[in-house]
């Protein structure tokens, strides 16, 4: 007899055990496929929630980056009024100010569609794509925006079923109708920002709202050193007491409350999914079936070591959970970024008529995927191994004592 321990290839050993695990999984096809589907569904919900929450946060930070550091509004008896451009000089002279620019924008309610548009006159310098770092939130073909034409956001195009060449009839301040032709649609990094936008030429804007050449809606102020923003803002109030500077932080807070509400919905979904997963893993951890126990007994009796049995169960857990993990993640990606969170839609709708298709720009980080991995694959695999441990240390002679089936 050859009792010398032969060197066995560890890789071949793993392969052999994986072979066995696969055929072992195959024979309970219905049960295991059901398990896999349930598991993938939970991963899907978790992943959808995580993708959605972090994408929406990312959108918020994008919006923030595109927001001017300080906006100055003219106030008349506590009401937002038009900003006289002659006051710009005074703001320019405040120490710490880098640049000042007048903006022309306003909301327009289209009663035919019941939708609110945001009309913006694009600043000449930023009309198209700039170097990637400072890329604006949206870009369009600047040459297309001639007098009498507009460039519309995706949401506007969708709701009004508009495309290039169509026109929108606007009702001007005096009740007359101004027809503006759609020259192009906007491309953007974040549809959240551009969906309800309409870019309009300066002349058309002034005609529509009856705003004189010497006025703007408000002005934006660029600051040399971002740490001086509060100081600069208070200096502006001193120089022009009838104005109100709005700093970026305040704008962020407003956005935050909107995003947090949506994020909050996601946390509810997320916790429900985690709870389901815990119950599911607990059920798995709570024990092996009599059949599984008997099988482990047979394996030990025919010469498997305790570690072989545990390795086999490890692979079983790993194969099931990795498959479910990848299936769930891929489905969630499709769900959140390609179908616009179709399943979550009821919870997300109702912000505005212009958001019937809430489509997010894909942002996925390794961190999210790792978090998800530790939330699902790791606990499940452990939950499969632990009860096996107890069964695998039984004496191999137990199988000898099975006398009937």
């Amino acid at each position: 007899m050859d009792y010398e321990t032969q060197m066995r290839s560890p890789i071949e050993r793993q392969r052999g055990i994986i072979d066995f695990t696969l055929s072992s999984l195959m024979r309970r096809k219905v049960k295991n496929v059901g398990l896999l589907c349930l598991y993938a569904l939970i991963v899907f919900i978790l992943a959808s929630a995580i993708f959605f929450t972090s994408s929406i946060k990312k959108e918020a930070s994008l919006i923030l980056r595109g927001t001017p550091e300080i906006i100055v509004q003219k106030m008349a008896a506590g009401r937002h009024d038009l900003f006289p451009l002659r006051d710009m000089e005074a703001v320019k002279n405040v120490r710490g100010v880098a640049a000042v620019e007048g903006r022309l924008w306003g909301y327009y309610f289209d009663d035919r569609l019941g939708a609110n548009y945001t009309l913006i006159v694009p600043p000449a310098a930023r009309s198209s794509a700039e170097p990637s770092e400072a890329r604006p939130l949206f870009w369009f073909n600047a040459a297309a925006l001639e007098p009498g034409t507009i460039v519309i956001g995706e949401g506007v195009a969708r709701v009004g079923k508009l495309s290039k060449g169509d026109s929108i009839a606007f009702t001007a301040y005096d009740g007359s109708t101004i027809d503006l032709k759609v020259a192009d649609t906007l491309s953007s990094k974040s549809e959240l920002v551009s969906s309800d936008l309409i870019l309009i030429g300066e002349e058309d804007f002034r005609k529509l709202f009856d705003i004189g050449k010497d006025y703007a809606t408000d002005i934006t102020v660029e600051v040399k050193n971002p740490r001086e923003i509060p100081t600069v803002a208070s200096k502006i109030t001193r120089v022009l007491p009838d104005t109100r500077p709005i700093v970026r932080d305040e704008i962020l807070r407003t956005y935050d409350s909107i995003f947090n509400w949506r994020g909050g919905m996601m946390i509810v979904i997320l916790s429900a999914a985690i709870l389901a997963f815990v119950i599911f893993a607990w059920d798995k951890a709570s024990g092996l079936s009599a059949e599984e126990r008997q099988e482990i007994g047979i394996l030990k009796a025919v010469g498997w070591e305790t570690s072989d049995v545990i390795l086999m169960k490890f692979w079983e857990g790993a194969i099931v959970s990795l498959t479910a993990y990848f299936a769930g993640v891929i489905l969630a990606y499709v769900h959140v970024f390609l179908t616009g969170s179709l399943i979550f839609e009821p919870a997300l709708k109702g912000w505005s008529v212009l958001y019937p298709h809430f489509s997010l720009t894909p942002f996925i980080s390794a961190e999210q995927l790792i978090t998800l991995f530790f939330l699902t694959v790791v606990p499940y695999t452990i939950a499969t191994i632990v009860p096996t441990w107890r069964a695998a240390i039984i004496d191999p002679d137990a199988a000898m004592r099975q006398t009937g089936e």
Binding site: M1, D2, Y3, T5, Q6, R8, S9, P10, I11, E12, R13, Q14, R15, G16, I17, D19, F20, S23, S24, R27, R28, E291, E295, I298, L299, A301, V302, G303, W304, E305, T306, D308, D395, P396, D397, A399, M400, R401, Q402, T403, G404, E405
Partner: protein, 226 residues
């Protein structure tokens, strides 16, 4: 040669349910012979087979295998000796349901890391030897009793052990199948394998191929005859 020196096995030692299953067995089992452990139910045959086959350790006494003491070895080594040196035929076939005959036969070899193709070839050859190769891809639950046992035998032989241990192999077989089993044992002997059978079936104990019968009662040997 397998030597047992004053081997004892006590279950549940120190507890009220303490039970001495083997009360000091000294025995030599010769290589290439067929040895039968005979005795009524509860006499300790299975317990003794487990100790001989490195499935469990004696409470006291020594077991030597080809002169090497194995009773003190750690579990890992025992497993290794067991899976290379011993083939087990259980009272029931102990096949894993839902898996094919072929996979069941390959079972003991998976953790040894032999290349799959070579292992499969060997398994098919084994099934051929026992005339069950046509069933290779069927599920084990469709086998008849005799077929199931032959598959279990092929499995016991997959790692080409020198010693075959069989516990009440004919308990669930009819007379015809029992004779067939004894023919298989005869072939083992011809191939130079050592066979140890626990049985109280006269068909086994009185067979001409048996070299030695050891009578057991209450965990002790009554007297040797041949």
């Amino acid at each position: 040669m397998i030597e047992l020196i004053n081997v004892k096995k006590v279950f549940n030692a120190g507890r009220p349910s303490e039970f001495t299953a083997l009360g000091g067995i000294s025995l030599n089992i010769e290589d290439r012979k067929v040895t039968v452990l005979k005795g009524p139910s509860g006499s300790g045959k299975t317990t003794l087979l487990c100790i001989i086959g490195c499935m469990s350790r004696p409470t006291a006494g020594r077991v030597r295998l080809d002169g090497r003491e194995i009773s003190g070895l750690p579990e890992r080594f025992l497993t290794d000796i067991r899976r290379k040196g011993f083939g087990f035929i259980f009272q029931v076939p102990n096949l894993i349901r839902g898996m094919s005959v072929l996979e069941n036969v390959m079972l003991p070899a998976y953790p040894l890391g032999e290349p799959h193709a070579r292992l499969k070839e060997r398994a098919i050859r084994g099934l051929n030897d026992f005339h069950v190769s046509t069933k290779a891809t069927s599920k084990v639950e469709w086998l008849s009793g005799g077929e199931a046992q032959r598959v279990a035998i092929v499995r016991a032989l997959i790692n080409d052990p020198d010693v075959i241990i069989a516990d009440e192999p004919t308990a669930h077989l009819d007379t015809h199948l029992s004779y067939l089993f004894m023919e298989i044992v005869e072939n083992f002997k011809k191939e130079g394998k050592t066979v140890i059978i626990a049985s109280h079936d006269p068909l086994v104990c009185e067979s001409r191929i048996v070299d030695s019968v050891i009578n057991m009662r209450d965990g002790r040997i009554e007297g040797e005859s041949s």
